[in-house]
Amino acid sequence: MAQLNVNPTRMELTRLKKSLSTALRGHKLLKDKRDELMRQFLDIVRENKVLREKVEKKIAEANQYFAVAASLMKREVMSSALLMPKQGVDLQVGTKNIMSVDIPTFNVTTKTNSKNDIYSYGYVNTSGDMDKAISILSETLDDMLKLAEYEKSAQLLASEIEKTRRRVNALEYVMIPNYEDTIRYISMKLDESERSNTTRLLKIKDIMVAQNIEEKKQTEQY
């Protein structure tokens, strides 16, 4: 039984009761927040897993083609082919609010409209495998952006859930029991002093009555 170090007065009791009701309310709200965060988080993390597996597979595939291309072409030719990209990306960052966690959303606009217009080199000196690799990467770009969004959300939500869970537990297992114990202690102490006061009054009354009787007896004798 752990109780707070307070004076057992009526004022303290009212104050503590108020704090307890706030703590109970906060506990309920935080618990709801945690549950909702958890629901959102699980959706996001499932999606995250699927996306990551997909992106990793695609990038590995592209890397294979790149390896073939690199073995067929001179290194200088390859780097000069990639030196001046035709394609450009503009990234817009918005924010989405999930249970007061700010989560970035990424929106990308590409400079060239057509998917076939991204090759920044003539086809003469370069290997076809490189075209293939780049086309795979450009297909993956959308998924990569989504992956970035989901993974960042998962990061932020995970740390928020951890914090919220700690708060819920602190309230549930420390703060609220402490308040309850202290309130019980104070009310018992107050009751006790009430009782001792009553007995004292009874005792005093007895003494006074006895005195009165004594006085009356004496006046009657005269």
């Binding site: 890397n63 390896a67 780097s79 394609q87 817009q92 924010t95 970035p104 990467l137 992956l147 939500l157």
Partner: protein, 107 residues
């Protein structure tokens, strides 16, 4: 306007430059760390970095985890996926739920 950066060894990331992402080829971890720090101060909202390098700088990675931007995303290098990226997702689940409930079927 925000930008997207890619950090890694040249062979792993050269393809991304064709897509209009900014690539930063590096040769060692010190260089990678320096570029990562620099990029996160600039207008880079997403930084893709190969697993090989991000794995070796957990402190820096943890630091950026707490911030809304930039998003630092591990990608596989030419050596293939070493499992660091997917393990990370696993770690988030463990952090949030307390135990891993999504990836159980894999192992």
């Amino acid at each position: 306007m925000y930008k997207i950066g890619v950090i890694g060894d040249y062979d792993s990331i050269c393809g991304f430059s064709a897509l209009g992402l900014d690539t930063f080829p590096v040769k060692n971890i010190g260089e990678a760390e320096e570029i990562l720090k620099k990029l996160s101060e600039l207008q880079y909202a997403i930084i893709y970095i190969t697993e090989y390098y991000i794995e070796k700088m957990p402190k820096l990675f943890d630091k950026y985890k707490q911030q809304p931007l930039p998003a630092i995303i591990p990608i596989p290098s030419t050596q293939g996926a070493a499992g660091f990226g997917i393990n990370n997702v696993k770690k988030y689940v463990e952090q949030a739920v307390g135990s891993d409930i999504i990836f159980n079927d894999n192992n």
